[in-house]
């Protein structure tokens, strides 16, 4: 299909309408409709990715409304562009969407009974917005899609437990501030360059030598600030833990892997495609200090993750730390760091998905995600635990999960740029992750209780009742998506080179420093 790129956004959009309207007739159709539309979406995004790989310039473009790109500066109109980066991210978004859609059957019925049409409508719109962010080639259109994703996100979170409303309100305030900053920045860009097309903006910057223009600098700061708030970069992270913790299970499974990661993508897009490497790294003296901010961000988030006693909250703070990884990977400014950042978007989406799916199952079966409720779960739900801990090992960065490879590139990047502070922070946070996950293993395997005491008396006596350790696995509609996600984590790790090859093709034209010393 030559226009498959548009269908990535349209399939979920139509699916959302079908759910909302059809749901009025029968609530039962919502689940199959959304799964079907996600299958179709994944299909077209795979198709788009292969089209982009096969195309000679490694990107495909679709002009909505058939306006002309030939002017200078480029005119105003919406263009969908899928270069290798955009197509990869779109595939990640839709793939995660499909797995979560499959998973949603039981939790949505239990947590939001009677509201399925509304829920699935918002769910599909969310995916439509996020996939659109990855594909659009227009800076203002990007804002619109960010708002689509954000507004539906507010709705999805607010459907959660009692405290979800307050968390959503918090999120709305911060999200709106972030989006406003971004919009303001785009306004400056339009004033100065006369175009909103991403490539068009860079053409003007380079043609007119706008590298030192104060207006452009202001635009850059505003855009960057907006994105950093949206991606929950520390200290703008306050909205995230509560929002993801109190949201319905399916919502946190969908939002946690995607929203922050897609915003990292937007940052990379702005840095590389819109402002250009020369502007972003060479004409702005202060970006050199961003890795130090990253250090603070990762350390604080990791320490706060340590303080949590509930799986979902702990994972939420982990996301904040991972955001720090990726932001750092961009601003240490070299080839390997950027490969690491992009690859970490993909792998972090996979492993966060895995962990949240696992946490959702634990919540479903044990009615709590507090550490106290975890004892003896290895015997109760062995498959769920295997899936969950594959995600955990990936966060730690044990080979051959995908987390190892993204960390490998990030560490390498830090080393090549000689940003030792960033590298050491990565090590530190890796050790924190080891503590976090092996503490969970201790709670589960050794039946350590909240006060830190061991209940086990050795020889298999864990101080647990028969009921607590009886084999009682999650329903298949939840288990299969989890195992699917876990195998994706392993497969992306094993075949990392195939993914990295595409990222390298994308990064080649930008001439980033590689820092190789020995010939």
């Amino acid at each position: 299909m030559s226009d498959s790129i548009v269908w990535i956004v349209l399939f979920p959009l139509f699916g959302a309408v079908a759910c909302a309207l059809g749901g009025a007739i029968s609530k039962k159709i919502c689940y199959p409709v959304s799964v079907l539309s996600m299958v179709a979406t994944v299909w077209v995004s795979v198709d788009t990715l292969f089209q982009a790989i096969e195309s000679p310039i490694h990107e495909i473009s679709y002009i909505l409304g058939g306006w002309s790109l030939d002017l200078f500066p480029r005119g105003v109109g919406i263009e969908f562009r899928a270069d290798l980066l955009g197509a990869l991210i779109a595939l990640v978004v839709t793939g995660v969407g499909l797995i979560v859609a499959l998973y949603s059957k039981v939790p949505v019925q239990r947590e939001t009974p009677g509201k399925e049409p509304m829920y699935y409508g918002l769910f599909l719109l969310q995916i439509s917005g996020l996939a659109g962010i990855a594909l659009t080639g227009d800076a203002f259109n990007l804002y619109v899609l960010i708002e689509v994703a954000a507004l539906t996100g507010y709705g999805l979170i607010a459907l959660g437990t009692n405290r979800a409303a307050a968390a959503t309100f918090n999120y709305i305030i911060l999200g709106t501030i972030g989006a406003s900053f971004y919009l303001l920045g785009v306004g400056y860009l339009y004033l100065k360059t006369g175009t909103l097309n991403m490539v068009g903006i860079r053409e003007v910057i380079e043609a007119h030598g706008l590298f030192d223009s104060p207006a452009m600098q202001v635009a850059f700061v505003l855009v960057l600030l907006g994105i950093l708030i949206k991606m929950a970069f520390f200290p703008f992270h306050a909205w995230l833990p509560n929002a993801y913790c109190h949201a319905p299970t399916t919502t946190s499974c969908l939002l946690a892997p995607l929203v922050t990661k897609v915003m990292i993508y937007v940052m990379i897009r702005m840095v590389l495609t819109v402002f250009g490497v020369e502007f972003s790294f060479e004409s702005t003296w202060w970006t050199e200090f961003l890795p130090w901010l990253v250090v603070v961000a990762i350390v604080c988030a990791a320490v706060m993750a340590l303080a949590q006693r509930e799986i979902k909250r702990m994972l939420a703070y982990l996301i904040v730390a991972e955001v720090g990884y990726m932001v750092g990977g961009v601003w240490i400014y070299n080839y390997y760091g950027l490969i690491g950042s992009v690859f970490h978007i993909i792998s972090d989406a996979c492993m966060t998905l895995c962990l949240f799916l696992g946490a959702g199952i634990i919540l479903e079966k044990c009615k709590t995600t507090h550490f106290n409720g975890l004892r003896g779960l290895f015997s109760k739900m062995p498959l769920t635990m295997i899936g969950f801990f594959i995600g955990g090992f990936s966060i730690i960065g044990l080979p051959p999960t995908c987390g190892f490879f993204s960390k490998w590139y990030l560490i390498t990047g830090g080393m090549v740029s000689e940003r030792w502070e960033y590298m050491i922070t990565l090590m530190f946070s890796t050790m924190v992750m080891v503590v976090l996950f092996f503490r969970l293993i201790e709670r589960i395997h050794l039946a350590v209780d909240e006060s830190g005491k061991n209940l086990g008396k050795g020889h298999g006596d864990l101080g647990l009742t028969k009921q607590q350790t009886r084999f009682d696995e999650a329903p298949l509609s939840m288990l299969i998506p989890l195992l699917l996600a876990a195998s994706v984590v392993l497969l992306v790790g094993v075949y990392n080179q195939e993914v990295v090859d595409q990222i390298e093709v994308f990064l080649q034209p930008f001439n980033l420093p590689t820092g190789v010393k020995y010939e």
Partner: protein
């Protein structure tokens, strides 16, 4: 050096996957069909040993066997390669796995241990990882299997699931993961990016000595990142995890902490010294002297600590730390005979030390005794066990006609090759210390009269416990008489 003939063969992969297949069988059979389950372990172990042993003639003819699994990075494949030292290590580990399985059956059933299915499954997994390390052809592959071993042995170390197990498990993982993630990983990516214009394959055969292109300081820093990064080698001060891990059931201590885990550590260090730095670079860099000093200090200090330990398993654990020091020392000597002696010592010490651990476990099964001071007169009740203990001790001390003698001999020769007389003195002192902390155990058992009369009902442990330890004691003799083949494998004899 001529490039050896390379033979493509799937057998290394089979040796790697046999434990996985065994594990599936073990889980399928489960707790209710214990005999069937143990049979799967035996089948997996035998298949693995048979496959590994069938590779011996190929290696002895001077060829190496390779198998390409998949491409990790564009330049770095996941590649299995069987060469002399690797095969020697693999032979030791897989043959001893059979003995340990037999022993484990006796031990675990004798003590009515819980969760034996989990125990045998993870045991199989860790053997798979050990094979992977032995057959790795480059640094990244070896790192993968090294990490896999750390994680798959954690459930074994914490098998008892009580407070002690938790402390032991924490120390174990804390040390191993901290060193491998924070020291080893940077060292690996350092080599990867900055060598050869980013085209580094990290291969043990093709890229030996490329590290020599770095500056002197960088080389030394790298050497130590690697040496301490492989903390399984138990070099001081990164050794404390080993005594902590002694909370595990004895078969685990025996196989993993005298054979697989610690030997994987020293084998990795050997690989780095011999096949990443290479003897030439190592001999001219200046940092290897430090490594030798640290290894010697480890040998002496740990032997002194062992002297003061009353808990038999702890005493053996510190003895292991000292013996591992020999291997690191031999690798750092950077002469052919020194490095060959190091590899030989992996085999010789494995056979001797596993006998000692088996005996410690057998004593525990038969009498519940853990401390050396409780063993008075026990030798008269358990003559086979304590006789084997005597043989194991003598082999570890290094007396002919036992295996331990050969490797110590070559270590000393290697040291003399580079005029390092002090190393020979260290070896002598440490052998004396070995005598002091090992022989009293057997002597107490045979010649002191028992304190109480209640031990009169004591008899040998069940036969599955006793047979393996007799076999490994016999192995100590055989290794001495078959040392020609071993020497040929490590390239010390044509």
């Amino acid at each position: 050096m001529n490039d050896p003939v390379i033979v493509e063969d799937i057998r290394p992969l089979i040796a790697l996957l046999a434990p996985w297949a065994g594990m599936i069988g073990i889980i399928w059979a489960g707790e209710k069909r214990a005999n069937l389950r143990e049979m799967f372990t035996f089948i997996a172990a035998s298949v693995q040993a048979a496959v590994v042993l069938s590779l011996v003639p190929i290696i002895l003819s001077g060829a190496v066997v390779e198998f390409h699994i998949w491409q990790i990075f564009s330049q770095v494949p996941m590649l299995l390669r069987v060469d002399g030292p690797g095969l020697l290590f693999a032979c030791v580990a897989s043959v001893l796995w059979i003995a340990t399985t037999l022993y484990a059956v006796g031990y675990m059933r004798g003590l009515h241990e819980h969760a034996q299915t989990r125990f045998y499954s993870f045991f199989a997994l860790s053997l798979s990882a050990t094979m992977g390390v032995a057959f790795s052809a480059n640094l990244l592959t070896i790192y993968f299997f090294y990490e896999m071993l750390s994680v798959s042995t954690f459930p074994l170390v914490t098998h008892m699931q009580d407070k002690q197990a938790r402390t032991g498990g924490r120390t174990y993982l804390g040390y191993l993961l901290f060193t491998s993630l924070c020291l080893l990983l940077p060292a690996l990516s350092w080599c990867y990016v900055w060598l050869d214009g980013g085209n580094m394959t990290m291969d043990f055969m093709a890229d030996v000595g490329k590290v020599g292109h770095f500056g002197e300081t960088t080389q030394i820093v790298l050497l130590f990142l690697f040496t301490f990064g492989f903390a399984k080698a138990g070099l001081m001060p990164a050794h404390s995890w080993l005594p902590g891990a002694m909370v595990a059931p004895t078969p685990v201590s025996a196989l993993l902490h005298a054979v697989a885990v610690v030997k994987v550590g020293v084998f990795c260090v050997y690989r780095v010294y011999a096949d990443v730095f290479g003897p030439e670079v190592l001999a001219r860099m200046g940092g290897e002297e430090w490594a030798m000093v640290i290894a010697s200090a480890t040998i002496i200090i740990s032997s002194l600590i062992a002297l003061s330990q009353d808990n038999l398993k702890r005493r053996l654990a510190f003895s292991t730390i000292g013996q591992l020091g020999y291997i690191v020392l031999g690798a750092a000597i950077a002469t052919d005979r020194g490095q060959g002696g190091a590899v030989l010592h992996i085999a010789m010490h494995a056979c001797g030390k596993i006998t000692l651990f088996f005996c410690a476990g057998a004593i525990f099964v038969a009498s519940g005794k853990k401390y050396v001071s409780e063993l008075r007169g026990i030798g008269r009740k358990m003559p086979l066990t304590m006789g084997a203990f005597m043989i194991g001790s003598l082999s570890v001390i290094g007396l002919p006609p036992l295996g331990g003698f050969i490797s110590k001999w070559y270590l000393a020769l290697g040291a003399l090759d580079r005029d390092a007389m002090w190393v020979v003195i260290v070896l002598l002192i440490s052998s004396l210390l070995n005598v002091f902390y090992l022989l009293p155990v057997a002597v107490t058992a045979f010649f002191r009269t028992p304190e109480t009369e209640k031990d009169s009902a004591l008899k040998e442990a069940p036969w599955p416990c006793v047979v393996p330890l007799l076999l490994t004691a016999l192995g100590c003799f055989l290794l001495f008489f078959w040392s020609d083949t071993l020497l040929q494998m490590v390239g010390l004899q044509p």
